[in-house]
C-alpha cells in the first residue's frame, strides 16, 4: 500500500507540471491585460502603459514562465497583480472558507442523500420511492443560482432566520459561522444529494437481488441487520466514487454560489483572476486545485482498498 501511494505521488508531479504549462499557454491566447482592468473604465492608453511599466508586465512570455517555474522550485507561487499580495497568502486565506463550505455541503450530501437512496431502494416501487426519485430529480434540475436567490428571499428576508449572505470566520463567531454557511452549503449540496440518492438507490437495488442477501434473510436476520451490516458495505464502493467526485467539485469552489452569497472562496478567487487577467494568481490557483484533486483521487483509491478487502494494489 505504501509503495502504491508513493508511486501515485511521484506520477502526480509531471501531471501537475503539465497542467500548469497548458493553463499558462491557454491564458496567453486570451486577449486582455491586467493593467487595463486595474486602471478602470475611462483610463487612457498612456495611463494603462504606466501601470504596465509599474507592474513589470512587459516581459516576454517565455521569460515570465521561466521566472514562475524558478519561483515555484523555491515554493513561491508568485505575487498577485490584482490583490497585491503573495499568491500563497491569497489562497491560504480562501482555503479554510472553501473547505468549510465544501465540508458542510458534503456532510449534507451524505447525511441526506445516502439514507434517501437506501430507503428508496428498500421500499422500491412505493410512494416513498417515487417521492425520493422526484426530490432527486428536482435537486439535479434546479439551477442553483435561482435556488440561492429564493433561499435568500425566504430565509434571509421573509423569515429573517439566516443571514442574506456574507461570511463570518469561525474565530470571530462560531455560531455566526455556522449560520452563514447553511444556505450556501444547502444550495451547493442539492445537486449532489440528488445524484447520490439515485446512485445509492440503483446500487442498493442491485445488491438486494444478490444471493448472499437472500441467505442472510433466510438465516432470520432482521431487516436492519441485513441492510446495515451486509448490504451497506457493498454499496460503498460506487458511493465513495461519487462522494469523491462530489467533494472534488465542491473543493474547486462554486463561483456562482460564492458570488450570490458574497463568500470569499476559491471559486471567486480564480474567476476574478481570470476576468482580471491576473496571471500569477491563475497559475497558482489552478496548480493548487489540480494538486488537491490528485490527492483526493488518491485518497478515494486508498479508501476502496479499506472498504473492499478484495482490492489489492501491490502487484507482486
Amino acid at each position: 500500500m505504501i509503495q502504491f501511494i508513493l508511486r501515485r505521488l511521484l506520477i502526480a508531479l509531471p501531471v501537475l507540471l503539465l497542467v500548469s504549462l497548458i493553463s499558462a499557454s491557454i491564458m496567453q491566447l486570451v486577449p486582455g491585460d491586467p493593467a487595463a482592468v486595474i486602471a478602470g473604465q475611462n483610463a487612457s492608453d498612456v495611463e494603462i502603459a504606466l501601470i504596465r511599466e509599474q507592474l513589470g508586465l512587459n516581459q516576454s512570455f517565455p521569460a515570465k514562465l521561466a521566472a514562475w517555474y524558478g519561483d515555484l522550485a523555491r515554493g513561491d507561487l508568485g505575487h498577485s497583480i490584482l490583490l497585491n499580495r503573495p499568491v500563497t497568502q491569497a489562497i491560504a486565506e480562501r482555503v479554510p472558507v472553501t473547505l468549510a463550505l465544501a465540508g458542510f455541503a458534503l456532510l449534507l450530501t451524505v447525511a441526506i442523500g445516502l439514507p434517501c437512496g437506501i430507503i428508496a431502494a428498500v421500499r422500491a416501487n412505493t410512494w416513498i420511492d417515487q417521492a425520493v426519485l422526484t426530490f432527486a430529480l428536482i435537486g439535479v434540475s434546479v439551477p442553483n443560482f435561482w435556488l440561492s436567490l429564493m433561499l435568500i428571499v425566504l430565509f434571509g428576508v421573509m423569515l429573517d432566520w439566516l443571514p442574506a449572505g456574507g461570511y463570518i470566520p469561525f474565530a470571530d463567531d462560531p455560531v455566526g459561522w455556522v449560520r452563514c454557511l447553511i444556505l450556501p452549503a444547502f444550495s451547493l449540496a442539492l445537486l449532489q444529494i440528488g445524484l447520490l440518492a439515485r446512485i445509492t438507490r440503483a446500487t442498493m437495488l442491485e445488491i438486494l437481488q444478490q444471493d448472499y442477501i437472500r441467505t442472510a434473510r433466510a438465516k432470520g436476520l432482521s431487516s436492519f441487520s441485513v441492510i446495515a451490516k451486509h448490504a451497506l458495505k457493498n454499496v460503498m464502493v460506487p458511493v465513495v466514487t461519487v462522494i469523491g467526485i462530489s467533494f472534488g467539485l465542491l473543493l474547486s469552489g462554486s463561483v456562482v454560489i460564492e458570488t450570490v452569497y458574497s463568500i470569499p472562496g476559491m471559486g471567486r478567487l480564480l474567476a476574478n483572476a481570470i476576468f482580471g487577467r491576473d496571471y500569477p494568481m491563475i497559475q497558482g490557483g489552478l496548480l493548487v486545485t489540480a494538486a488537491v484533486l490528485v490527492l483526493l483521487n488518491l485518497a478515494v483509491d486508498v479508501l476502496y482498498a479499506v472498504i473492499d478487502p478484495r482490492i489489492k494494489y501491490d502487484q507482486r
Binding site: G32, I38, Q41, N42, A43
Partner: protein
C-alpha cells in the same frame, strides 16, 4: 470663500454617535486602493474616505479648500502659494506638514495615472511646515481645477511613502475613516479616526469635502456583486445602504416604509466611441447617417430601465460649463434621411462592427438596440460581445471595431477638460487625428477667463457632433437605497459615509 463657523451642540453629537457598524453594499470590488493608481469608481468610493486632497470639488463642482487653509496666486500667474490647515493628523499620529504635501505631489508626478496634470510644474517648495509653493513654467488658467480633480485624486500621503510603487502604498491618510482590513471578495473595513478634526469652515457636506463627522465606530464596505443579494441584504437589514439598486427592485420597494430610495444622478454619459479609420465609419456621411438613424429615447429606456435623462451636453446640467451646442444633431431621429444619406455615400453593405461587453448590462443592452436601429435603415451590423478585459484590449485595435460602447463617468463630472479628452491627440480614440478638435482643446484649456473657456468648449462640443467623434445616447442615472432609520445620507459621486447617523432600529 465664505467661512462659516458651525456649532453642533454637544448633546446632539452624543445622540448621533453609535457604536454599531454602518454597512454599505458595494457592487464592484476595487482592484486597488492606491488613489494614484486607478480611475475606477470602486477604488474612489473607499479611498476618498481614507485620504483627502489639498483642494477638492464642492457640491456644484466648484473648487473648494480641503487640507489647504487658503491660497494665493501671484499676479503673473506663475506661483501658487498654499497655506495648510494646522493640527491635521495622519492616521499614524504624524502631523501634516508641507513636506508631506510636497512628497505626495512628487509621487503623483512620478507615477500617478493622471500625472500629465502636473507637467506644467517647474518646481515645488516647502519653505515652512505650513506653506507649500508651486511654480509653473507658463500661466495655467485651469490649474486649480485640475489639481482639485477627483478622477485620479492627488491624495495627500505621508512623506515616507514618496518612493512607493503603484498599488504598494500603505493606506495612511488624513481622512475621517481609517483603514482596518481588506478581505478580497468579502469586505473592506474602515474605522472612525478619532484624531480627525472636522473642517469647521463648512456647515455640512460640500461635494467631496465639507465638515465630515463620522457617527459610527466602524464602516464596512461589503462587496455584494449580485444585485438580488444586495437588495435582499438591504431588506433584511444586514446592509444599511446599497448602491446600484436595480430598477425593478426600486419599483417593488417604493411602498416599503423601511427603505428610502435615492436618485444618484449622472453616473455616466452613455455612448459609444466612433472609429474614423475603419470603413464604413471612415466616411463622414455614413457617420452622420448613424447619428440620424438612432432613437436615443428607445436606447436609453431599454438599457437603463427608465433611469435616464436625454440631453445633448457633454457636461451634466448644473455644471458651470454646461452648453448645448450641437443639439440639432442629437437625437435627430430621422431614419428616412439616414437611409438616403447611406445611399448617397454609396454604402455597399460593408459590415459595421459594434463591440460591447457582458460586464456592464447597460452597455450590452444599448448595443443590441443600436444594432437593430441601424439595421432598420440598411446597415449590415455585427455585434461582438466580450468580457470587459477583452473589450478593453480590442479597443486599441483600429481594425477591430466601428462603434465601441462605453460610459464616460467622472470625466464629464470633473469638467469640460476631461469630459471627452480621449478624442484629442495623442490618445485619439477615433484613431484619426482631428486637428480642429486638437486646436479647440488647447484653446479651451489655456483660455484666460471662464467665459472664454466656456465659449471654446461650446465650439468643441459642436465639433464633436459635427464630425461624429462620439455618439452620446443620454445621461445614465442610478438608484441607491438605505434603511429609513439611516439619516443624513446624500448620494454623490461617492457614497458619503460622513454626517450619516442612525435613528431607530436598522433591522
Amino acid at each position: 470663500m465664505s467661512l462659516c463657523i458651525a456649532f453642533i451642540p454637544q448633546h446632539v453629537q452624543a445622540q448621533k454617535h453609535s457604536a454599531t457598524t454602518l454597512v454599505f453594499g458595494q457592487e464592484a470590488p476595487p482592484a486597488t486602493l492606491d488613489p494614484y493608481f486607478s480611475t475606477a469608481i470602486a477604488t474612489r468610493n473607499i479611498s476618498l474616505h481614507i485620504f483627502e486632497q489639498l483642494v477638492t470639488r464642492g457640491e456644484n463642482n466648484a473648487v473648494i479648500p480641503e487640507l489647504a487653509e487658503s491660497w494665493r496666486i501671484s499676479p503673473d500667474g506663475l506661483t501658487y502659494t498654499f497655506k495648510l490647515r494646522t493640527g491635521v493628523k495622519f492616521h499614524n499620529g504624524k502631523e501634516l506638514t508641507s513636506a508631506d504635501v510636497k512628497a505626495s505631489f512628487e509621487r503623483y508626478k512620478r507615477m500617478g495615472l493622471a500625472r500629465a496634470t502636473l507637467l506644467p510644474i517647474a518646481s515645488m517648495a516647502a519653505p515652512d511646515p505650513s506653506t507649500f509653493v508651486i511654480s509653473v513654467s507658463k500661466p495655467q488658467p485651469i490649474f486649480l481645477e485640475e489639481l482639485s480633480s477627483f478622477t485620479v485624486p492627488i491624495a495627500i500621503i505621508p512623506s515616507e511613502q514618496v518612493d512607493r510603487e503603484g498599488g504598494k502604498l500603505d493606506l495612511i491618510g488624513t481622512g475621517p475613516l481609517q483603514f482596518v482590513e481588506w478581505v478580497p471578495d468579502s469586505h473592506i473595513r474602515l474605522k472612525r479616526f478619532n484624531g480627525y478634526k472636522p473642517d469647521m469652515r463648512y456647515k455640512g457636506n460640500d461635494g467631496f469635502g465639507g465638515q465630515k463627522n463620522i457617527w459610527f465606530d466602524m464602516v464596512d464596505f461589503k462587496l455584494v456583486k449580485e444585485p438580488g443579494a444586495r437588495v435582499a441584504g438591504l431588506e433584511s437589514g444586514q446592509l444599511q445602504i446599497i448602491e446600484d439598486l436595480p430598477a425593478e427592485s426600486a419599483k417593488r420597494l417604493v411602498g416599503n416604509k423601511n427603505i428610502t430610495i435615492f436618485d444618484q444622478k449622472n453616473q455616466w454619459l452613455h455612448g459609444a466611441w466612433v472609429n474614423h479609420h475603419r470603413g464604413p465609419t471612415n466616411d463622414l456621411r455614413i457617420r452622420r447617417a448613424i447619428q440620424l438613424a438612432l432613437d436615443m429615447e428607445e436606447i436609453m429606456e431599454i438599457s437603463t430601465d427608465g433611469t435616464y435623462t436625454l440631453q445633448p451636453g457633454l457636461q451634466y446640467p448644473g455644471n458651470p460649463y454646461y452648453v448645448t451646442d450641437g443639439k440639432e444633431l442629437y437625437n435627430a431621429k430621422d431614419p428616412k434621411k439616414a437611409a438616403a444619406l447611406l445611399k448617397e455615400a454609396g454604402y455597399k453593405g460593408e459590415e459595421l462592427v459594434i463591440i460591447t461587453n457582458s460586464s456592464y448590462q447597460t452597455m450590452y443592452k444599448a448595443a443590441q438596440v443600436v444594432s437593430e436601429q441601424l439595421k432598420a435603415v440598411g446597415f449590415k451590423v455585427r455585434v461582438d460581445v466580450f468580457d470587459w478585459a477583452t473589450a478593453l484590449n480590442r479597443r486599441r485595435d483600429k481594425e477591430a471595431w466601428n462603434l465601441w460602447f462605453t460610459g464616460q463617468g467622472s470625466g464629464p463630472a470633473a469638467g469640460p477638460f476631461s469630459a471627452l479628452k480621449d478624442v484629442v491627440s495623442p490618445q485619439k480614440n477615433q484613431f484619426i487625428a482631428d486637428p480642429e478638435i486638437d486646436k479647440l482643446f488647447t484653446e479651451m484649456v489655456s483660455g484666460a477667463t471662464f467665459e472664454a473657456r466656456k465659449a471654446t468648449f461650446g465650439k468643441f462640443q459642436a465639433h464633436v457632433y459635427d464630425q461624429v467623434l462620439f455618439l452620446k445616447f443620454g445621461d445614465l442615472h442610478r438608484k441607491q437605497a438605505a434603511r429609513s432609520s439611516i439619516k443624513g445620507f446624500a448620494p454623490y459621486r461617492i457614497p458619503r459615509m460622513w454626517n450619516v447617523w442612525v435613528d431607530g432600529p436598522t433591522r
